[in-house]
Symmetry: C2
Subunit: 352 residues, 2 copies
């Protein structure tokens, strides 16, 4: 960690509630397939999961976007499905099809899963965190992350991505005790996993709840808010100072309730959150987001106008520039370079 302090790191300053002339920037999925240097490492590494579990390669791809674009943060290169994998579920990634898991459909399937293997399984991930922390420029921060229990459970129960979430929704609604046991297991594993990432050098954390938006109110409270609140409490019991960014994607009208009930430090906003609503949310905590990834894919005037509108609305409070969703894999890297320039020049212009 080279003795750096928060004062050197714009990301940590913003997450501490300080407005900055030039907001810090990083992008969700910034280490990924749109970068040729990522594709080169990926090809060498073997499978996608091999890459996640190989510290040298995972460190390299984590650092690539910081090196190329001067991002204000690196986010650990990993996947939210390493947690069910560590619990003992079969997890694979089929090229072009996404993740495939041997599905957990009933409470009785939980017997095969255990948190006992977690520490050993995750050792190479923690090793990656340590290596990145050691190699990161002193003004860049290191973000650790995990999937939130609801979202991880959707993959565990559906056996992969889903359009309708019918299996996990009926499990959750029809067997509250059984599904609650799965969520409790995920809360326990995720809390341990995040604490260990901070132990290894992560300076901020993000909880990705990508499918939070599909749940009705009562279910949202039970399976999104309550488990997230428990993880936040559990992590803070050990690391009271670490900022935690919550990302309940698609939560719409429920962002404010999520933030106040879970106690997350900051809110990551998806691209459907309006600027007015973003400003209201920012009045109570730092916000991050919410540029449309399609605007970066297209670049040019569309990107310039979207960035200008975001800076105009949000740069007057604690703000971390980011997308509303992961960067699209077809995005030309020079669009990202232009984007970083727009943020920093925009800031310079506002300063002048």
């Amino acid at each position: 960690m080279q003795g750096s302090t928060n004062a050197d790191k714009p990301l940590l300053q913003a997450l501490a509630g300080q407005q900055q002339t030039v907001p810090p920037i990083w992008l969700m999925r910034q280490a990924g397939r749109y970068l040729p240097e990522y594709r080169a490492v990926r090809q060498e590494a073997g499978s996608f999961l091999d890459l996640c579990y190989t510290p040298a390669a995972a460190t390299e791809v984590t650092l690539q976007p910081v090196r190329r674009f001067g991002m204000d943060a690196a986010i650990l290169f990993s996947d939210i499905l390493v947690v069910p994998h560590a619990l003992g579920q079969e997890v694979g990634f089929v090229e072009g099809e996404g993740p495939k898991l041997a599905p957990v459909r009933h409470a009785s399937d939980l017997a095969a899963l255990s948190v006992d293997r977690l520490a050993g399984h995750m050792a190479p991930v923690y090793e990656t965190v340590m290596r990145v922390a050691a190699d990161l420029p002193r003004d860049a921060a290191l973000i650790g992350f995990a999937g939130a229990p609801w979202t991880v459970a959707t993959y565990m129960v559906e056996g992969g991505t889903s359009r309708t979430f019918e299996r996990v929704r009926t499990f959750a609604l029809g067997d509250e005790a059984g599904f609650g046991a799965l969520i409790a297991l995920l809360v326990d594993a995720t809390t341990r996993y995040l604490i260990a990432q901070v132990d290894a050098g992560a300076e901020a954390l993000q909880l990705f709840d990508s499918w939070a938006g599909v749940l009705p109110e009562g279910q949202f409270n039970k399976w999104v808010i309550a488990p997230t609140a428990e993880i936040v409490r559990g992590v803070r019991a050990v690391h009271p100072e670490v900022p935690i960014i919550g990302f309940p994607r698609g939560a719409g009208a429920r962002y404010e309730g999520y933030a106040s009930a879970t106690g997350v430090t900051a809110l990551a906003l998806d691209e459907t959150v309006s600027l007015d609503e973003a400003v209201r949310l920012q009045a109570r905590r730092p916000v991050q987001g919410n540029l449309d990834p399609m605007a970066v894919l297209l670049g040019g005037r569309v990107m310039e106008e979207s960035v200008a509108a975001l800076l105009e609305a949000l740069a007057h409070g604690p703000y971390v520039f980011n997308l509303g969703h992961g960067i699209n894999k077809e995005t030309p890297p020079d669009h990202v370079e232009t984007l970083v320039g727009l943020i920093r020049d925009g800031g310079a212009n506002r300063r002048g």
Copy 2:
């Protein structure tokens, strides 16, 4: 139409803003695969589109749920993709895979589409509307419908269902004039189509914007609100009295803005809208929805409790009981029978 009036039809009363002791009920996709009598007709009819274009068969399946459950409304059996089909796009339905369309990707692809064929193409659909209107019990209302332009455009551009909507989103964001021409064509066709349904006997209309929720604010205003407002104006210019239910599924925090800016008569609420928010929305116009379809799939106590909470919250204002989304095809029909009983007994209890 047998000389019936609004006074005989609970659905039309609710849409006119009158609270009722027992709210009227119908279910999205109530004529469909969960009913054995539907599957029997479907098997006879040939393809799914053949069924949509065969008045005798389409009339029969439209009436089935009214006959079996005593629903307060029939909704025309058809599909939102008959409009692009009528415009000249190739549309097919692959069993188990959903719709497949020869995609429209660029403004230049629009030359092959024309509204000129609409009236002839839709003649059997209008014939179905007339037959249903003639055969419907006098206290049941007939609902016509169409897909809203944005949602129909997603299928036209993606070539089917999509998880990411990347093609249609980049078209809309990157070529506003070209995509605007496609939307303008859909506004024109949809307005004519809905007017003709009312001419044929439809007493209320619903506009399905199933993918409204994926758009960022500026895009939502341009491609959801503006075209819907134009259709509402166009239909009302000819049929000023017809109630129009807007269903911007997933609009979240944007439901109120959608309702006030488009001028729809009533709002259909998806299952992610909270009861508090539903009550707020109901203060300004009738609402419809938003029972979780998974609760009907599961039945039993889960369904009973969900129904009780909905009636408690919404039966004190103008309210149409419905789901937040189409009924799941695995739903046992006797769960629907129980559901209808819960609404009517619930009403009877509140009366007593």
